[in-house]
Symmetry: C2
Subunit: 143 residues, 2 copies
């Protein structure tokens, strides 16, 4: 089954390989197998109370893949021109978000655990946290 195509640039759904049998499901990624970067930082969001948002930034260079390991949330993507919101809620689907894509996560379910694999170690200077600055950088890129 083909994954739905996103209209936001630099973002796509990834079908994550799965070994499924009577003993449950195992989803896996390796560099070259569902993942086109080496994960240098891995983090997970959980216990997000109703009404709160996470993310709200873009990365200058880093790529990330988001997967809902439990529960789910909405992800709002913005490439500076096009905005799109998608639902993250399947442990077998990853959302790849490229550099200079503003992303916000909202509507976390009570049990949500969202895994994020990032292509770079944490580096604050690499985050764009001001939306106006993001718009300028995105406009410069797509120009």
């Amino acid at each position: 089954m083909t994954d739905p195509v996103l209209t936001v640039r630099g973002s796509r759904w990834i079908s994550i390989a799965c070994v499924s049998d009577l003993r449950g499901r195992l989803n896996f990624v390796e560099t070259g197998k569902g993942l086109d970067f080496l994960p240098r930082r891995i983090f997970w969001l959980h216990g997000v109370p109703p009404g709160h948002r996470r993310g709200r930034h873009g990365h200058r260079q880093a790529e990330v893949v988001l997967v809902a390991l439990a529960g789910g949330c909405r992800v709002h993507l913005d490439d500076g021109k096009v905005k799109e919101a998608v639902t993250l809620g399947d442990p077998g689907k990853g959302l790849h978000v490229g550099p200079l894509i503003w992303h916000e996560l909202s509507d976390f379910s009570a049990n949500a655990a969202i895994l994020v694999l990032a292509s770079m170690p944490y580096e604050e200077a690499e985050f764009v946290r001001d939306h106006d600055e993001f718009k300028r950088l995105a406009a410069a890129r797509v120009a």
Copy 2:
């Protein structure tokens, strides 16, 4: 707070760094920050029905870190001499399992999602799936 020490050799609890505020919790690892290897394979177990076990092998070389991102399970460790069972159920605690430690996972809660970070890509020859062979290899190592 010091993590409880395991009696099984080559295994330990890891406190995973956490950024916690009104917007929920974010746990993170990087190589050198909670993780002493570069994760080359990342997988997650979920939908494991009651009564089923996972794992049931040792690795010749690979190290793994297990974290319960949602729900939990029991982990049975065996270094060839000492056996120990622990509960995995905290998204802020990783269980580091070194090479040649037999490990089995049981008693998955209905909502369990168990994240595993492995130091090597998947390679079947690197798994020891026969417990007698494991015992021979473990005995040779600790001799």
